[in-house]
């Protein structure tokens, strides 16, 4: 514990990881105790200058966790934001709150931080009670100064009470927390704390970290992955091909190849120049056969949800719609490729990387390096926004393998084609929906069948270096047909959701990508609902209102319709012969526990097939919005990304490998194409906070598709809506 104290005095890891290295590891190498979650000291430290450090087990991924979580702590402790610091994630320092994904930082981390802070405050009040000789219930706190009610000069600061010492108090979770009505900070748009450093170039991203004696490295892989099962096999390496570059070292472990050099540019060009003959197998379906092959696969089937009698109800219904939706593989394609630094010694290792979960990354690295887990330390640095399981852990492993091989600290950075080509892509999906309504416009039956494969377990570095067999994660939420995002927002008596798990080893590597599968789900599902409204002859918003009972779903739906000045009319009722036509669409959806709804206004050029998103509106109800400003930013980001994913993004591949390897072959939305954005936060002070980082994307994806129908009278069955796909759909439908 004492060394942790020492560590805190340095002001936290953001100073720069490796300047701490000797200080920290010099003492701790070999012991490295994991922080004890049952001690208040693991969560909160009070310093003698009357400030606090909160130890947070979630990382700043650009989503604002480094502002919102301290905000919660400051609220409970009655401190100003300026009095609360945080430290960087480090397996030796910060608590294990689980990984930063599923929009969890505020949803899952918030309550933990809140109760820990409340308990720390109570402990502080008990100390103050003795010091000021006054019962706890007569004390009041402001900015960390405890005073006796009515006698402001009888006071003592938190800093005077415990400054620099440990609480030595167990964390029981029993201290009462503040009622929402007394919130002063929570619920307000506190400014992002990382902004000044980020605009001035002072923010230390992973890519900026340097260590003394460090070597630069790059990996050498085929350009673009093949089938997950096959990895990549080296047939021959022509070492003479890089002989002209002095001072570079070739490292080979199994089929893992890396180049290490003192000079970064030498490593970069040697990695490009090295001639390797790979055995690439033509075992992928390629884009053309992808969906047919998935649909024809022998699948593992599971009824996810069933009530009533869908088939019977459909048979009797006045209106029935059946619709297929196909969604492509999409890439994380983070703006700055993954980077990591590893310093692997014979009996210990320190790895700095951009993982969303330092603890699970540590476990995997320990196994790979054959070093006991307690001797492996993993530190987090912010990289470019990842939005899911990109190559961050792959890069950490690659750095570790190379450092172990050369016996020096190694900084490894992926090239653009590595990141684009060896990602864990958001899996492709085929969805088939049947939905039926009675003549009054009430949905009577809903059925969804979905096909996709699961996520990859093995990182590419481990697979290549050690021949680790490819394997997929077992089922579970976000990898299968979602009972939260499909049909269940509607009041439907007969409903059936069936998941068809496609065996995935012969496909691309899968991983979670922001709002996993949800865009594809709602693309199919909310188009079917929209089509029902059309068949019934109703306005799509009014139809949804009629079929939703849950006030929170209705709340976001109404909020977004109001913001968009929605006027009642049936979809596709204004079709025109003009070259450029406009349309508007609405959609609802979510990822997990929050509620999302969106409206899209688009323009379609029927001659070029080009679509322009003009204005996107998105509403989220995520319960108590701790920092509404943050959530507005999150909604904006989600809406822009959704437009990008619906209109442009698709991983391309042939039979042997992925071919979308840069921003030209994997285009994303650009500045000129960006729509106007209206984010709406539905504040619910008395509801538990739920995620806000993903839940408007599903509704937004559907809104775009429905707007296309409104503009053209044609239903798209596959996205992205590239010009060629749009023209083909219009032609097929005589549009």
């Amino acid at each position: 514990m004492s060394s942790r104290r020492e560590f805190l005095k340095t002001g936290g890891a953001l100073v720069i990881g490796f300047s701490l290295r000797d200080e920290l590891l010099g003492q701790q190498r070999g012991t490295a105790p994991g922080p004890d979650l049952r001690q208040i000291d693991t969560w909160i430290a009070i310093h003698s200058d009357n400030t606090a450090t909160v130890h947070i087990g979630f990382c700043e991924l650009g989503q604002g966790a480094s502002t919102a979580l301290p905000q919660i702590a400051a609220e409970e402790l009655d401190l100003d934001m300026s009095q609360v610091k945080t430290v960087g994630l480090d397996t030796n320092v910060t608590p294990n709150q689980g990984g930063t994904f599923s929009s969890a930082s505020v949803a899952r981390g918030g309550p933990q931080i809140r109760t820990a802070a409340a308990e720390a405050r109570l402990a502080l009040l008990q100390l103050a009670s003795k010091r000021l000789d006054s019962p706890v219930d007569r004390l009041t706190v402001s900015k960390g100064i405890v005073s006796v009610r009515g006698i402001p000069n009888r006071s003592v600061t938190y800093g005077d009470l415990v400054g620099g010492n440990l609480f030595n108090v167990p964390f029981t979770g029993s201290a009462p927390v503040k009622p929402a009505t007394e919130y002063k900070l929570v619920g307000t748009p506190v400014a992002r704390r990382d902004m000044p450093a980020k605009v001035s170039g002072k923010h230390v991203y992973m890519q900026h970290v340097r260590v003394p004696g460090m070597m630069h490295a790059r990996v050498v892989r085929p350009r673009g992955q093949g089938a997950y099962r096959d990895g990549a096999k080296v047939l021959n390496i022509d070492e003479s091909s890089i002989r002209s570059i002095a001072g570079v070292r070739l490292v080979r472990r199994g089929d893992f190849i890396g180049i290490v050099a003192e000079n970064e540019w030498d490593a970069v060009r040697a990695a490009q120049q090295l001639k390797v003959t790979w055995n690439l197998k033509p075992t992928l379906p390629g884009n053309d056969r992808l969906y047919d092959q998935m649909r024809a696969a022998e699948t593992q089937d599971r009824v996810v949800l069933e009530k009533g009698d869908v088939a019977g109800a459909i048979g009797k219904a006045a209106h029935m719609v059946s619709l297929t939706g196909r969604g492509p593989y999409q890439a994380h394609a983070l703006f700055g490729p993954s980077c990591a630094i590893a310093d692997v010694k014979t009996d210990s290792a320190l790895i700095a990387c951009t993982t969303s979960d330092v603890y699970s990354t540590r476990t995997n690295l320990a196994r790979l390096l054959e070093i006991p887990v307690e001797k492996v330390q993993v530190q987090y640095y912010e990289g470019a926004g990842t939005y899911g399981h990109s190559c961050y852990e792959d890069a950490a492993q690659a750095a570790a393998i190379l450092s172990q091989a050369v016996g020096k600290p190694v900084r490894l950075q992926f090239m653009r084609w590595d990141e684009h080509g060896w990602d864990n892509y958001g899996p492709a999906h085929v969805g088939e929906v049947r939905a039926a309504a009675d003549s009054d416009g009430r949905i009577v039956a809903y059925e969804y069948n979905g096909w996709q494969h699961n996520w990859a377990v093995v990182e590419t570095s481990a697979q290549l270096a050690f021949g680790t067999q490819a394997a997929e994660r077992d089922g579970g939420a976000a990898q299968q047909v979602s009972p939260l995002n499909l049909g269940s927002m509607y009041d439907v008596p007969n409903l059936k959701l069936v998941n068809h798990r496609v065996p995935g080893l012969g496909y691309l590597k899968g991983g979670w990508l922001r709002s996993p599968l949800d865009l594809s789900f709602s693309f199919a599902s909310e188009q079917a609902i929209d089509e029902l409204a059309y068949r019934v002859g109703m306005d799509p918003y009014a139809f949804r209102q009629r079929n939703i009972k849950d006030p929170r779903w209705l709340g976001v739906l109404d909020a977004v319709a109001k913001a968009a000045n929605w006027t009642t009319r049936r979809a596709a009722s204004n079709l025109s012969k003009a070259k450029v036509v406009t349309g508007r669409g609405i959609g609802v959806g979510t990822h997990l526990a929050s509620y999302g709804a969106a409206v899209a206004e688009i323009e379609v050029d029927k001659e070029t097939g080009r679509i322009r998103a003009k204005h996107m509106y998105g509403a989220i109800d995520a319960g108590l919005a701790v920092n509404p400003g943050n959530i507005e930013n999150q909604i904006s980001g989600q809406l822009v990304q959704t437009v990008s994913r619906m209109l442009k993004e698709e991983v391309t591949f042939n039979k042997t490998n992925v071919t979308s390897l840069d921003w030209n072959s994997y285009p994303i939305l650009r500045f000129e194409e960006c729509p106007e954005i209206t984010p709406i936060v539905v504040q619910r002070l008395n509801e538990r906070s739920t995620g806000a980082g993903e839940e408007v994307m599903a509704g937004a994806a559907a809104a775009i598709a429905n707007a296309f129908f409104d503009a053209t009278g044609v239903r798209m069955q596959e996205y992205p809506f590239t010009p060629s796909r749009v023209l083909a759909a219009l032609k097929k439908n005589g549009g």
Binding site: L61, V199, Y205, F335, S636, F671, E676
Partner: protein, 169 residues
């Protein structure tokens, strides 16, 4: 072979050791430890590595270090002073108006693309102090943002343009 080269960066002449064909980006990051320009694609496609060379935005990943000998390179770090020199201010502000405007607009996600966005917007505002929305969009179109901050960056450019109005020249 590595040579000694003299380059002018943020108004200081710096001696660096690099092979002449080394992309300027690696020299700025590794020899001069600058954190503004950063690797994004290495292909000239994204704008992550942008710097100003004699006031013109260039991709440092596509510019050989030897090509900027005798020229003046300005990175994100040097923008406030560059702005002060342009506007003939006695003292450089802490932040270029575009940097301040981004904070004011809270245009924040991961921020990795800001380097290029700020450098490009500074170039635009120096040439076109009152750009229209279409001019902003077209000037910024070569700069990608994965996090979707375009709408707020657009507002920040407009705000910066307002802030710069009436600043002496």
């Amino acid at each position: 072979m590595a040579n000694e080269l003299k380059i002018r960066v943020n108004e200081q002449v710096r001696t660096v050791t690099a092979a002449p064909d080394t992309p300027l980006l690696y020299v700025l990051s590794n020899e001069l430890n600058l954190q503004g320009p950063r690797f994004g694609c290495g292909l000239g496609q994204c704008g992550s590595c942008s710097v100003l060379v004699n006031g013109v935005e260039m991709r440092s990943c596509q510019t050989r270090v030897s090509a900027v000998e005798g020229k003046s390179v300005t990175t994100l770090e040097g923008l406030p002073a560059w702005y002060a020199a342009q506007k003939k201010l006695a003292q450089a502000p802490a932040l270029h108006p575009m940097q301040q405007a981004l904070i004011d607009e809270q245009a924040v996600q991961c921020g990795y693309c800001y380097n290029g966005m700020i450098v490009k917007a500074s170039e635009l505002l120096s040439k076109t102090p009152q750009p229209t929305e279409a001019q902003i969009r077209s000037a910024m179109n070569g700069h990608l943002c994965r996090c979707g901050t375009y709408p707020r960056i657009l507002k920040a450019v407009q705000r910066a343009s307002q802030m710069m109005k009436g600043v002496a020249k």
